[in-house]
Symmetry: C2
Subunit: 143 residues, 2 copies
């Protein structure tokens, strides 16, 4: 989660919403790390999780990340939750909950849907204080 938080800080420094993610293999190797780049890439799908999943898939040469874990500083949205499922991520660790856009504990609760065919083990609230503080600071500065 330290790497994901560092990616969130780097995203903030680029003017992006400060969210970061990392994909780690079963042996503990960091396969990919990424921060949010939706503005820089002009790509609404360039969330930290999607970029990290795509990076890890490229690293492994596989469209599945079996036995890999994903760390992300904010509760994933529906797009990222579904991508986590498709990639067969084993464990999802996330920081702050997201009442407005989250899809794990809020809204669609995607992993609990019958249309979700693989659900990771989910651990929320990891590094929550720092993740939430980064987001609050970012939005407070923009008001």
């Amino acid at each position: 989660m330290e790497l994901a938080l560092a990616e969130a800080e780097a995203a903030r420094d680029r003017g992006e919403v400060p969210i970061g993610a990392a994909v780690v293999s079963a042996s503990g190797a960091v396969l990919a790390r990424a921060g949010n780049r939706t503005l820089e890439l002009r790509d609404p799908t360039a969330h930290a999780e999607l970029l990290a999943i795509r990076g890890a898939c490229a690293e492994l040469g596989s469209e599945r990340l079996v036995d890999c874990d994903l760390y992300v500083t904010l509760e994933p949205c529906a797009m990222c939750a579904a991508a986590i499922s498709f990639a067969r991520i084993r464990r999802l660790y996330f920081g702050a909950a997201d009442e407005k856009g989250g899809a794990v504990e809020h809204g669609p609760r995607f992993f609990q849907q019958a249309t979700c065919h693989h659900a990771p083990d989910v651990y929320g609230g990891i590094g929550e204080a720092k993740a939430a503080s980064l987001l609050k600071g970012f939005f407070a500065a923009r008001r």
Copy 2:
């Protein structure tokens, strides 16, 4: 929808699940078209809709596709439905319904969630017979 169906056929011919999509601007210009490429790109996020949205954003140099419409041969999954929302797609036209993985009329029904902050107008069943026939033929041939 004819372009999306042609992309679905091209995906089938590449050995991919036959799903195709196209993004059209308010003036009727085709900004991007794509078929499913998850196997070829070894990328679980390379659904037709996501590739078409990313292509259209690159074409316009914007992370939002305001006043643009998306045509896709199958009911979008949760990942693609959320991406459609983030991109601010105006109208979504889809072909066959997807009971197993759809997220518009099935499962999460993403556009009806309070955590969905932009919902397109949705028109299902457009070109449904051909879209469904492509999928049935593809899976029958693999059994």
